[in-house]
Amino acid sequence: MRDILSLFFAYAKSGLKSRFQYKLDAIVTTFAVFLREAGGIIAMYLALLKFDTINDWNIDELLFLFSLIFITYGIFIVFFMALRDFSDWIKHGDFDRVMLRPRGLLTQLVLCGADWLAALGHGTLGIVLFVISASRVGIQWNPAMAVYYIIAVISGVLIQGAIFLFFSSISFYVVETGSLKEIFYWNMRKFAIYPLSIYNRVIQSVLIFVVPFAFVNYFPAQFFLRKADMAAYPEWLMYISPVVGVMLYLLAYSFWRFSLRFYKSTGN
């Protein structure tokens, strides 16, 4: 364990150093990521000045919902960037290098790459949103609530990690998976930011059963907020939220182990 931690810190140090080589550029880039992600939220804020609520959610409740998706992505991208860009690893033959080293494959991939600027941009936005909204949405914060929140965040990270672990495994069969990721992750994420109940049934089902983003932010947020639109879904969905991440990750992990034997190097 100590070994793994020291590896992580060594990678983190060199990663941060190289990204902050040009300090001003790193700061501007981080701010740009922050602002790009905040764009939709600013638009929502302006719209709610006129409309007050969307499906009975007011702006503070929405900010609380948004915060979960950005905090989880900020953490996700620290650990799973290598999996996000895994088809490049295979294409360039970098994966062979990983195989030759005396540590677990996935351990190395998870520890080595972090998109620090994205992590800072998304993470800061998530924390800012959380700080603004957490005290204004009427949650009675107690240790149990805090524990649920932390577990929900970890689960949200694992859900997104599992999605990418799944895509990475597919890279062993077909090298290029960029389009799959575009459709099933990035596009679905655009939907997932807003309350699930505003969409039609098909989109809702996809976000619950296929690419389960609903468990990253909507159901955990409902656990805290209990908005009326939860009536459309079985109540137990908000309680299983923390488990979904672990289950999905284990599933993706066994698929990864299974697919690994089909790996063929692309050469140099």
Partner: protein
């Protein structure tokens, strides 16, 4: 002129080589529309109109903005890449105006995205979304003219930011920030009607008002007579002002340009 047009045609054709990108592009555009449509459907919650604006006016304005965004889908790191790689030296030696060539290549790429991403999206959207028909043939024509003028305003803003790559390490961050400003202030993320009054009054004095919203108003027939002339005049004013600013940065950048190696 035909020389520049052929730049546009070549770019258009080269884009056509990636067949699967069509499907992705349509999906991308359609999804963006569905997200907005769902948000505003929920916001309207069955209300006939809000501040005199109907739901179908909102969806139509989003669709028009999406069309313009599709037209503006281009590689905004073009100039920086050319400068970083030093290939700008070869480009400058050619007997073509670099800026014009860039404009036409971008228009070729934009035309591709309009034809293969936006138009299919618009057709699909018309099956499920409440869209408003244009208020007349003349309005469609006026709308198209203002779309082209709006495109040039947008292109010039992008060129100004790109031209800073002569002095900056990377313009990616600034381009991203610029795009957020354009998307919000020009009304691509939120219809201009619903902007708070104070913000609306600020935007009136910026080029952002001359990009998406003028075409939308013309399409819906919200402008008449002298107002139309005023809006066109304003678009042309911004084209001249921003064009001059871009030219200034371009020239002073070229003076500083040092290309290493060859």
């Amino acid at each position: 002129m035909t020389r520049y047009l052929s730049f546009a045609v070549i770019k258009f054709r080269s884009k056509m080589a990636y067949r699967f990108d069509y499907v992705l592009g349509i999906l991308d555009t359609l999804l963006a529309f569905v997200v907005y449509w769902s948000i505003y459907k929920a916001l309207y919650a069955g209300a006939g109109e809000v501040d005199g604006v109907t739901f179908s006016m909102v969806t139509t304005s989003f669709l028009i903005s999406l069309g313009l965004s599709a037209a503006f889908h281009k590689n905004e790191m073009f100039l920086q890449d050319k400068i970083k790689q030093g290939t700008i030296a070869n480009e400058l030696l050619k007997q073509v105006n670099f800026k014009l060539r860039m404009l036409f290549e971008d228009m070729g790429e934009g035309a591709f995205h309009v034809v293969f991403n936006f138009l299919p999206t618009a057709v699909i959207a018309s099956f499920f979304a409440e869209l408003k028909a244009p208020s007349g043939a003349v309005n469609v024509l006026l709308c198209l003219v203002s779309v082209i003028l709006g495109y040039i305003v947008l292109w010039e803003i992008s060129f100004i930011v790109q031209s800073w790559s002569f002095t900056l390490f990377s313009v990616w961050g600034l381009i991203t920030i610029k795009n957020v400003l354009v998307n919000i202030l020009a009304g691509a993320y939120i219809p201009m009607w619903f902007m708070p009054d104070w913000l609306r009054n600020v935007i009136r004095w910026t080029p952002f008002d001359a990009i998406y919203f003028t075409p939308v108003q013309l399409y819906l027939g919200e402008l008449a007579g002298i107002e139309i002339a005023f809006h066109f005049a304003r678009q042309i004013c911004w084209i001249i002002v921003l064009g001059a600013v871009g030219e200034y940065f371009w020239r002073s950048g070229l003076k500083k340009l040092v290309v290493q190696g060859g």
